[in-house]
Each structure stands twice: as structure tokens, then as C-alpha cells.
Amino acid sequence: MITVENLTKRFGEVTAVENLTFKVEEGEVFGFLGPNGAGKTTTIRMLCCLISKTSGEARIGDYQIGKGTDSLQIRKMIGLVPDNVGLYSDLSAFENLDFYGKLYECPEMLRRENIERFLKMLGLWDRKDARVGSFSKGMKQKLALARSLVHEPKMLFMDEPTANLDPESAKMVRDFILELKKQGRTIFLNTHNLDEAQRICDRIGILKTKLLTIGSPEQLRESLTRPKTEIRLAQVNEALVSALKKLIPNKINVSGDKLIIDVTDPDKENPTIIAAITLNGGQVREVTQLVPTLEDVYLQIVKETE
């Protein structure tokens, strides 16, 4: 559905995005992770035909970005939730959605049905005639989501939709995105929130001007970080650690009363490690298998590029 090949954007001397190549399949939720200034918003803006590309190619469905008439077709088939909600505060919730529905050439009956449906889904129907200026941040964000859906786009681009929201509103927005995922919509999501990416996205791309890596959250975790076993002891002393280092080849880190040991196959290695500890007089209190998080992967990858 989205095909990107060597996409590059330069603003004068500054390269915002360099040689991006990836694909997003229909019905997939694709997340873009990256630090501030990594080029996430620039990428969304190029794909939504808001700014031009410097070089490379990108296609949304059958249409090519940067090609005159195709741009209008692309804008018709997508919905955008920008990082700033950009609603008209002097208009009501209904008027905001109605304006965009008309711009997207959504027939009146369908437009009214969709406005009602989405406002009800997002718990805003009771406030449909209230001025948006009186809405909270969370309500505005939900309204921006409804705006992006009023014309029933095949594909949604969301630029940090939960940024600056309180945990409750963020959860509601996240749940709504998951609901859209169930409906089979293709979603391109820019986020800073690693937990959100892990829970929502089918695949994740980590961006820092260049695309550093791409894969499912599980693939990224497995390919880039090794599992660790955390063993809490009654007491850790240097003699025990040196004895262990001689007995087992694994990398051992000490943190207070804990030993954090890199393992390849926990099921096979953990019994050997525990046996080695007890053999050297160590008293095991707790054994925990540490599963690397997406945050570990992200930090490792970003750190490697610095």
C-alpha cells in the first residue's frame, strides 16, 4: 500500500530524511520511532503530499507522490492526524467535522452518519455543538482523530497522536487506534512512546535521518538484544563473582545484591548458573528472566549511531 524507495528530503544544506526504503502492507500498523528531529514528521508530510521530496520515489496505492494529479488523489484516500490538532476553536465539534467532510467530498448523508458514529465512539456526541475552544486537550485529540476518519480513508497517518495527553486520554486514543486496526485500516504512526509502538504496531522502523532498522517488535528484540537472567542473592561478594567467571563463560554484571547474566538459551544455561552459584556458597533468593524491551533495542540502536 505504501512503497518508499530511496526517499530523501533536504531543506537547503540540511538533510532531514535520507534514502528511506520500506513498504507498508494493506491493513498493517506501521510505527516510526525516532528522537526529535529524526525526520518522522518530514516523512509523513512527504507521504501526505504536503511537502515535496528532494529525490527518490514513494507510492501510496497506485499513486505517486510529487506527481501533479496524483497528489490530489492521494490526499483524497488518506486521513491525517497531525502533531498539532489544528481544529477551529470558534467552531463546534460538529462544524469542524462537517467542514472537513465537505472538503473530502463525503456525501451529506454519509457525512452526517459518520460524524455521529465517530463522535459517539469517542464519547464526544453530547458536546457536538460546543465550541472546540472549550474542549480539553484529550477531547481535542479525539476530535482530530474523528476528523481524520470522517471521509472513511483507507489509510491513516498519525503524528504522535498521544503526545502531551494525560494517561487516561492517551489510553483512550490508543484503544481507538487498536479498534481501527481491527477494522483493517492501514495506519502509519509516528511516536515517541515505545510502549505504545510495541502494543499497537505490527512493524516498527527506527529512524534517525536514515532508517536504522525495521521489523516487528519481537524481531527487533530478538535480533538486537540477548536475554538476561537476573539472580538476587542473599549477599554478593567479589570471591563469588570471580569464581563464577571461571566456571561460566557468560557476561556477568553486578548490581547491588543482584547478578545480571547474559544468556543465549535460558532454559539450558540457568540451571548450570544456579548450580555454580550454590557450589560457591551463594544463596539464591530470586531468579528472574529479563526480557529485553523495545526501549532497550531503541536505545541501543540510537546509541550506536552517535
Binding site: R45, S52, G86, Y104
Partner: protein
């Protein structure tokens, strides 16, 4: 270009204008002062000496008619500035530009929104002005002075051309302003040449006869065409998104 798309933008903007106290005041006050205030001036000026003479009245009434031209150049700047800089303040340019609308449809929509309310207000006010002015001067002149060719040309030709000029200028200054008031202040510079024409007529340097009004119309039309080129150039999607916001 699809005018229906431009009209959607225009109606949305007009809906926003009527909810902003400042724009409503601007649209009501000037036409009210000119439409009602100036006939009162005609009624009470020189009242101690039997009122204005029939020889002076037509000169003064023509000069007063010119106020509508000044209004046509001034009022659209208020709306155009709100329409354009308001989008910047609301940060609504990104979703708007992501919609299937062309730059020209957006620009025309915003121009219609800034054009119709002030020109309508000026027309309504001019009808009130003409009726009241005729009422208070009929006894002295012995006939109804309005409507005449001068005010007809001012209202039907010069005022729309000046309003367009004002909107185009506002588009250009709004691209660099981050506050509607600042954009308005810069936008009001467009009224200076028109005010200069008024002053020139008052000091007798030019006479506001039909021929002169046609010449002024020609000059404003030429300026409209030149500013159209510059305003459309400053109203490009990428330019708006990367430099306006």
C-alpha cells in the same frame, strides 16, 4: 479550479468571522459611522448659518462618497488577516493542506471570505447613506443627489477593485506575520495611496470626476493584476507549511 471547494472554505471562514467580536465590530462600526454619521454631518454642518449651500453640498457629498472606497480598502484587511494568520495561530494549516484542495481553491476561498462581508457591509451602508443624505439635502438642493455616476462608479467598480487589492496585499503580508493585528497594521498600508487621492481631491490637486475615477480604476486594476502574481507566488503549499507555521 473547483469553485465549490473554494466556497466551502469561504463559508467556514465567514462562520468563524461572525463569532469573533473584533471582526464583527470592524464590519459594523465603519459602515455605521459612514452611513449614518456623515448624513448627520450634512444635516448639522453650518446649521447656525442656515446650513451648507447648494453649491458646496455636491462637492462635500462626492468627497463623502469616497469614504466608501477607503472602507473597501480597509475592511478586507481585517478579515483577510484573521483568515490567514488565524490558521497559523490555530495551527490548522497542516490538516487543511492535507485535504484534497488545491492552493488556488484555498486562496480563492479565503479571498471570497474576506471580500463578501466587507463589500456587503459597504453596500448596505451606502444605501442608508444615500437615503439619509437625500433626506437631509433635498430641501437645499431641490432634488435627490444620490444615486449618481460618481457613487455608482465608486461602489460598483472602485470598491470591489480596492477590496481585491487589499486582500492580495494581506495575503502577502500575512505570509510573514505571526499575529493578526500585526498583519492588519501592515495590511493597512494599502489604504495610503487611496487616502492620498482623497487628500489630493480635497486640496484641489485633482477633481474626482468620472474621468478621474476611471483612471483610478485602471491604476487599481493594474495593481490588482501585479499583486495577484505576487500573492499566488507566496501562497504555495510547501511555502505555507514550512515558512508560515
Amino acid at each position: 479550479m473547483r469553485i465549490s471547494k473554494a466556497w466551502i472554505v469561504a463559508t467556514k471562514d465567514m462562520r468563524v468571522f461572525i463569532r469573533k467580536r473584533y471582526t464583527v465590530y470592524s464590519l459594523v462600526l465603519f459602515p455605521l459611522i459612514v452611513g449614518v454619521g456623515l448624513p448627520l454631518v450634512l444635516r448639522f454642518a453650518g446649521a447656525r448659518h442656515g446650513g451648507l449651500s447648494s453649491a458646496r453640498l455636491p462637492i462635500i457629498m462626492n468627497a463623502f462618497s469616497f469614504f466608501y472606497l477607503i472602507g473597501a480598502a480597509t475592511l478586507p484587511t481585517v478579515l483577510a488577516s484573521y483568515s490567514l494568520v488565524g490558521e497559523k495561530i490555530e495551527k490548522s494549516l497542516e490538516p487543511l493542506l492535507a485535504a484534497p484542495i488545491t492552493d488556488s481553491e484555498l486562496l480563492v476561498g479565503k479571498s471570497i471570505a474576506a471580500f463578501i462581508p466587507p463589500v456587503a457591509a459597504i453596500y448596505i451602508s451606502s444605501i442608508v447613506f444615500m437615503v439619509l443624505a437625500n433626506l437631509v439635502t433635498h430641501n437645499t438642493l431641490g432634488y435627490s443627489y444620490f444615486p449618481n455616476w460618481t457613487i455608482g462608479l465608486i461602489l460598483l467598480l472602485l470598491a470591489p477593485l480596492s477590496a481585491i487589492l487589499s486582500i492580495e496585499w494581506s495575503v502577502i503580508v500575512s505570509s510573514r506575520a505571526s499575529d493578526p493585528r500585526a498583519a492588519q497594521m501592515q495590511g493597512l498600508f494599502i489604504v495610503l495611496p487611496i487616502a492620498a487621492i482623497y487628500v489630493a481631491s480635497e486640496v484641489g490637486a485633482i477633481s474626482l470626476d468620472i474621468k478621474t475615477l476611471f483612471i483610478i480604476s485602471g491604476v487599481i486594476l493594474a495593481a490588482d493584476i501585479i499583486l495577484f502574481f505576487f500573492s499566488t507566488k507566496s501562497f504555495q503549499r510547501e511555502e505555507i507549511l514550512t515558512k508560515w507555521t
